[in-house]
Symmetry: none
Subunit: 143 residues, 2 copies
Amino acid sequence: MFLGEFSYSIDEKKRLAIPAKFRQALGKKAVVTRGLDQCLFLYSFKEWGVLAEKLSKLPLAQADARGFARLMLAGAMEADLDKLGRILVPDYLKEYASLGKKTVIAGVYNRIEIWDEQKWEAYKTNIEKGIGDMAERLKELGI
Amino acid sequence: MFLGEFSYSIDEKKRLAIPAKFRQALGKKAVVTRGLDQCLFLYSFKEWGVLAEKLSKLPLAQADARGFARLMLAGAMEADLDKLGRILVPDYLKEYASLGKKTVIAGVYNRIEIWDEQKWEAYKTNIEKGIGDMAERLKELGI
DNA sequence: GGGAGTTGTGGATAAATGTGGGGAAAAGTC
DNA sequence: GACTTTTCCCCACATTTATCCACAACTCCC
């Protein structure tokens, strides 16, 4: 289980260090993908394999399902950790999440999220503002 | 499993480099054919065999299924990789996918797709727009 | 508090990759 | 048969990528 919020920087070679606490659970082989709200998701290869399998079985005949699977699968990229626990972030994913130098890495249960620092701050304050409404909805969910 | 998004160019001799990461899984012998949404599909020879078998068994009665199978089977062409990992793209397939110089190669699980760069960008934004409820779909898949 | 180990960051060097082109062999044309 | 065109095989070069190492800051432990 991944927990916590860390800030790291991407160097000119597109390398991004993964928090040491996450490395063992993640393993050597990982996968980065397009996530929701303009962040990236990082999964262990094993975890990803389950998802990819499901995606690959969506009906090829339906245009929308096809597009969805295509975007998710083509958006994914193997991101193996080097000896020092860093991954390479491909250009197109850097662009997708508009990652600058400073990034935030957040553990969210079974996945890791990678955010541009500014985007993260903005997102957080945005959510905090709406947190009153959210409480209502959480109640509906039995939390 | 083929993953990721890469951009390459076709030279004047219609040669197109295949991402180094894909070469081992693809093998020396590959097959290109007409794909869906004006892109090309690239399969390993083995995968193609499985697919061709399935296509040949589609119900002859349905006009659309018949047309689809015909398109893929008739459009198929052996595309062996040269020593540097490039394939030759036949004219009629270049035309079908309206490939310019700049192309995008996308890994989509068991197949590789070849897109004209502009078409790919257009398609992506189109899908992203259409799938506002991406989160919903992800939830269904347990992501 | 000091030392050993770990961790984040940056850079250097070596290997691999993408791209372009030359020329021989094959195929087609008049 | 001679010529042109296309296809295939070879290599060269610049750039990118991967691997390795160095250093400073930090943590942990005794």
